[in-house]
Symmetry: C2
Subunit: 337 residues, 2 copies
C-alpha cells in the first residue's frame, strides 16, 4: 500500500518526494530552481521525475498562485492571412515567455457574440487580451461588462496607450501618394468595415493624402475585406467609370476588383491602376502582380505580446512605430487619359 501510485492519477510532487527520499517542498524547490539545494539532491530528484515522467500540474499551480499565465486573443477574421499570421507569431512569442494563449473566434460581430467570446476568455481567467476584431464594438462591450484587463489591439492609429502603433495612416498615404505621383486624379478608395480601427485609419490616411495634394476627394466604399465584395464593388463602380485608380484597403478586395475590371474588358494597369494593402504572399502572383503596402504581421504579433506582458509584469514597454512599406509591382501605371 506504499506504492499506491497506480490510482490512475498522474504522479504528484509527493510521489516524487517519496521516491527521492526528500520532502515535497524540496521537490517544489527543484521545480522552481531555488538556489540553495545541494546539487546531488537536485540530481536525485530530477532523476525520479524523469523516471516517473512527472509533469507539474498546472491547475494546482494556478490555484495557489492565482496566476494563469494565459493571454486571450479575441479574433474575428482568423481565416485571413494577416490576422492568422499575427496570431501565429503571437502564440509563439507568448509560448517563449512561458505563457499560454487561447484564441477565441467570434461567431459574429454583434454584441451578443462579442459578449460570449469575452465570457469564454474570462472563464479561463486570462491575464491579458489581444483584440483582432471590430475593436470599437469590442471595447464598448468590454466597458459595459465593466471588466478591467490589460489589453492590446493589433493595429491602430496609435492614439491609446494600449495600442500598437503600426502606422496604418502613413501606409495608406504611401499608397495614395504613389497613385497621385503617377498622375491619377480620380481615385476611389475601397475601405474596410469602419468599426475596425485599421480600416478607419487607412481611410483617414487616404483622405489626408488626397487633400494634401489638392486632389478631389471621393466617397469611400465600405467593404467587408472579401474578394467577393471587391468584385461586386468593382462591377458597380465600372458602370460609371469616372476614375483611373482604386486604392483597396486589403489585397483580397483588390483581387476581386481586378477580376471585375478585367471581366469588363478593361486592363489593369492600362485602364485602371489598383493598389492593395497587406502584401499577402499571393499578391506577388496575382495577374498582374499587385502593387501593395507591406505589413509585417509577424512582428505585429510579437510586439503585441511584448507590450502586453510589459503591462502585466508592470514594466513599461516601448511600442516604437512600425512603418509599412510600399511594394510597387505591376498593377499600377500612369493613367491613359
Amino acid at each position: 500500500m506504499a506504492s499506491d501510485a497506480q490510482t490512475g492519477r498522474a504522479p504528484s510532487i509527493r510521489d516524487v518526494a517519496r521516491l527521492a527520499g526528500v520532502s515535497h517542498q524540496t521537490v517544489s524547490r527543484v521545480l522552481n530552481n531555488h538556489p540553495s539545494i545541494r546539487v546531488e539532491t537536485k540530481a536525485r530528484v530530477q532523476q525520479v521525475m524523469d523516471d516517473l515522467q512527472y509533469r507539474p500540474n498546472r491547475a494546482a499551480r494556478v490555484l495557489v498562485t492565482s496566476r494563469t499565465r494565459t493571454i486571450g486573443v479575441l479574433a474575428a477574421a482568423a481565416t485571413q492571412y494577416g490576422p492568422a499570421s499575427s496570431i501565429q507569431a503571437l502564440e509563439k512569442a507568448a509560448r517563449a515567455e512561458g505563457y499560454f494563449v487561447n484564441t477565441t473566434n467570434l461567431d459574429g460581430t454583434d454584441r451578443a457574440s462579442i459578449e460570449r467570446g469575452l465570457n469564454h476568455l474570462l472563464d479561463q481567467a486570462v491575464e491579458g487580451l489581444v483584440v483582432i476584431a471590430p475593436q470599437v464594438r469590442v471595447f464598448e462591450t468590454f466597458h459595459d461588462m465593466n471588466i478591467s484587463l490589460p489589453f492590446v489591439t493589433l493595429q491602430s492609429t496609435g492614439t491609446t496607450e494600449h495600442a500598437l502603433s503600426v502606422d496604418q495612416i502613413s501606409g495608406a498615404r504611401l499608397a495614395t501618394r504613389h497613385l497621385i505621383e503617377l498622375g491619377h486624379r480620380s481615385i476611389y478608395h475601397l475601405a474596410g468595415p469602419q468599426d475596425w480601427i485599421e480600416a478607419e485609419a487607412r481611410m483617414h490616411g487616404f483622405l489626408t493624402e488626397l487633400s494634401a495634394n489638392d486632389v478631389p476627394a471621393t466617397a469611400p466604399i465600405l467593404g467587408d475585406w472579401t474578394a467577393e465584395f471587391g468584385y461586386y464593388a468593382g462591377r458597380e463602380l465600372l458602370r460609371v467609370r469616372d476614375f483611373t485608380a482604386i486604392f483597396s484597403s486589403n489585397d483580397q478586395m483588390a483581387l476581386g476588383l481586378i477580376h471585375a475590371i478585367r471581366e469588363s474588358g478593361l486592363d489593369v494597369p492600362r485602364d485602371v491602376s489598383v493598389v492593395g494593402f497587406d502584401d499577402i504572399p499571393e499578391a506577388a502572383h496575382f495577374w498582374p502582380p499587385l502593387t501593395t503596402v507591406q505589413q509585417d504581421f509577424g512582428e505585429l504579433g510579437r510586439r503585441a505580446i511584448a507590450l502586453l506582458l510589459g503591462n502585466i509584469d508592470d514594466q513599461g514597454a516601448s511600442p516604437a512605430t512600425l512603418v509599412p512599406d510600399l511594394i510597387v509591382r505591376k498593377s499600377t501605371a500612369r493613367p491613359a487619359f
Copy 2:
C-alpha cells in the same frame, strides 16, 4: 472582519455561500445544477452570484475533477486558409460543447519543434489532440514520447480509426478525370509535402485516375503549398513544355503556376489547363477564375471535434466520409493540340 472580501482575490464559492446564507456545497449544487435544490434557494444563490460577478475558478475545478476539458491543436500552416478555417470552426464547436481549445503552432517541422509543441500541449493536460501538420512525423514523435491521448487528424485517407475520412483521393480523381475528359493526355501533378497525409492522398488519387484511364503517368513535383513554389515550378516546367495540363495540390500553388505560365506568354486555359484544390475564397477571383476541388473546411473542423469528443466521452462517433466537389470555372479547357 466578516466582510474580508477585498483581499484582492476573486469571490469564491464560500463568499457566495455566506452572503446567501447557505453552505458552499449548496452553491456548488447550483453551479452544476443539481436536481434537488429548492427553486427559491437556487434563485437566492444565483442573485448573490450576479451581484458579486462571481465566476467559478477553473483551476480549482480542474484540480479536483482532473478534467481539463481542453483539447489541443497542433498546427503547422495556420496561416493558410484551409487550416485556419478548420481551426476556427473547430474552436467554435468545441466551445459549444464546453471545451477549451489551445492551438499551438509548430516553429518548424523538424523533430525538435514537434516535440516542443507536444510538450506545451501536454503541460496543459489536454484531453485530446487535433493534428494539422505533417502527420507522419508528428505521429512518430508522438509514439516515441510514448504518450497516449485520443487524437484526430483533419484530413486523411481514412485508414485509421482516428482519421476523419475526407476523401482526398476521390477529390483528386475528380480533378484528374476532368482533365482527361477534356482530352488532356500529358498532365503533371504539383504535389504537396509528402509527410502531409492529404498531400500523399491527393497524389495517390491522381496516379490512380491516370492509370485507370491508361494515361501515361508523370513524376509528381513535390512542392510546399506556397504560390511562390508554384511559380518557380511553373518556370521550370515550361522549359520543356511537354504537357497541356497541370493538377495542383492546392490553390496557392495553382496561382503561382498560372503566373509563370502567363508570364511566359502562354495563356490559361488556351495553352495550359490548371486545376487547383481547396477552393479558397479567392479562387473564384483569380484570372482566370480557378477550376478547383472544393473542400468544406468548416465541416471538417466540426467533425474533428465530434469525433474527438466521441472518443473522450467514449461513445463511438461515426465519421461518415465527406466527398469533395469539383468546381469548374475558367482555368480548364480542351487542349489546343
